[in-house]
Amino acid sequence: MAAIIDVQHLRKSYADTVAVDDVSFAVSEGEIFGILGPNGAGKTTTVECVEGLRASSAGQIRVLGLDPRRDHVELTQRLGVQLQDSQLPERLRVAEALELYSSFYRAPADWRELIDRLGLADQAGTRFGKLSGGQRQRLSIALALVGNPRVAVFDELTTGLDPQARRDTWELIEGVRTQGVTIMLVTHFMAEAERLCDRVALIDAGRVVVLDTPAALVDRVGTGQRIRFRPSAPLDDELLTGLPDVTGVTRRGGVVMVTGNSNALNAVTALLARHRIAAEHLQLEQASLEDVFVALTSGIQSPRAER
């Protein structure tokens, strides 16, 4: 399938700094594609080049077959954008903002229907200055969608939102994808990428460190399992370290923490059963995208996977 967004060897340098060194990726139709990375990695610069807000120093970008700079006016008709830290006039009401933005486009969505879908119907007459953080973000999503775009770019959509508002926003984004919009999502929240993205590109120091599905990335780091529990009776560490699947045991207070491969939990529970010890408050932790992030962006052995 042809790429909706195609970025090849993007480079953006300023007088004395290189914001983006060499970034390549391709986003397919219907995908939610995540751009991940620490602060200052070049994520926002990358999407700003995709949006046509900045000219690249080198490389090639095509969005829906258009050049973001040369075909900028046409691109704005088809690309919905939510910018980091972009506000509206304090005294502009929600409905007025949507009516204004919908007038910009050839074939706008029905903004009244959008207000309902994004749960802003009760705020239609509320001024922007009086909206909560979550409501502002929902409005910015609505404004990004009011032109009926085929592609939408969201930059740090949930930063500064409380956990509930964040989860609500995730559901909205999934809903947007269901409507057939291809989405590019910039985030530094691993949970967000894990929950939403089909594929993610991890960017560090202006380069794509790795690009894959969240699950494949987690496998790649392969840190296995971490098991925590409070034994109901005294338990000798050596019994645990004697297990072939266990790689380490530590204790904190009465809590035992065991690390090991993916079979460690089985081995440990079997051992406890043999000694008739119960594992109270048993917790199992598996590697998450966060571990990937830490492992791959801190200079530790990084597999430079490219596609």
């Binding site: 949006e51 046509g52 807000l53 829906l64 077959g65 258009l66 075909d71 006016v73 046409e74 704005t76 008709q77 690309l79 954008v81 910018l83 830290d85 972009s86 506000q87 509206l88 006039p89 005294r91 502009l92 007025e96 009516e99 204004l100 933005y101 007038s103 910009f104 486009y105 050839r106 404004l143 032109g147």
Partner: protein, 258 residues
């Protein structure tokens, strides 16, 4: 995909209308323009008009009444208030809040917001000046400008000069609050040289000469001459043109969308 693409589509006319309407709604909701740019000068006119001595010819003013002197000054007041105190905070605030940047990602672009703001402030100034002339004529018997074309030309040049300065402020300050502060700080000395507290004719000669090189001093002199029936002096018109060109170019050079 590229086959269906129309060449450089212009924004829909509905977009420009909606943009102007929206900016006008916001202009009304901001206090500065309606209260200080429109209401306050009208109120001043009515207060001055109610003072009997202001309606008597004054030897010191070359036989004019105080009120006849104040109509051009209030005209300058309206223009300066809108251009220095209403326009710059809005534009600088829009840039500071990323509103102009956001508009760059839409088919309309940010330049048209700037145009809409200029149009709204110019129209507000024109309507208010007409109101002032009308009230002065009907309520207090001040004659309409006898050299009307000269008066209109002087007012337009004054608006061009002051709006250029306003755009320059918006270009060089970091945000809305700073624009507000700079606009206010510039407004008072400029209105002083326009004769708001001491009519230009009564100023000591040093101040009078200084006044003639300030944009509002030149404006008020040109408006005053036109009101009395003379064509404004070229040097005053030229002064305003120079301010327009210098600050207009500087604003264009330094204004950033983000």
């Amino acid at each position: 995909m590229s086959a269906e693409m129309p060449a450089a589509p212009a924004p829909r006319s509905g977009a420009l209308r909606r943009l102007t309407i929206t900016e006008f709604i916001l202009f009304r909701r901001e206090r500065v323009g309606p209260v200080w740019g429109i209401g306050f000068p009208l109120l001043l006119l009515i207060i001055f008009g109610e003072i009997p001595s202001f309606r008597r010819p004054d030897q010191d003013l070359g036989g004019l009444t105080d009120l006849e002197v104040y109509v051009p000054i209030l005209t300058a007041f309206v223009i300066a208030m809108l251009a220095l105190n209403a326009l710059p905070p809005v534009l600088a605030g829009y840039r500071e809040k990323g509103i102009l940047r956001r508009l760059r990602t839409t088919p309309v672009g940010p330049a048209r917001v700037l145009a809409a703001q200029l149009v709204i402030n110019l129209v507000a100034a024109a309507v208010t000046v007409v109101l002032i002339l009308t009230v002065a004529r009907l309520a207090f018997g001040v004659a309409l400008p006898r050299q009307l074309a000269g008066f209109v030309l002087a007012a337009l040049l004054a608006a061009a000069a002051l709006m250029s300065i306003g755009l320059f402020i918006a270009a060089v300050v970091p945000g809305g609050r700073a624009a507000q502060a700079v606009g206010t700080i510039l407004f008072f000395p400029m209105m002083f040289f326009a004769g708001l507290w001491l009519p230009i004719a009564q100023m000591p000669s040093v101040l009078r000469h200084l006044s003639h090189v300030t944009p509002l001093g030149a404006a008020v002199q040109a408006l005053q001459d036109s009101a009395e029936g003379d064509w404004p002096q070229p040097v005053q018109l030229l002064t305003m043109v120079v301010y327009t060109v210098v600050f207009g170019l500087a604003a264009a050079k330094w204004f950033r969308w983000e």
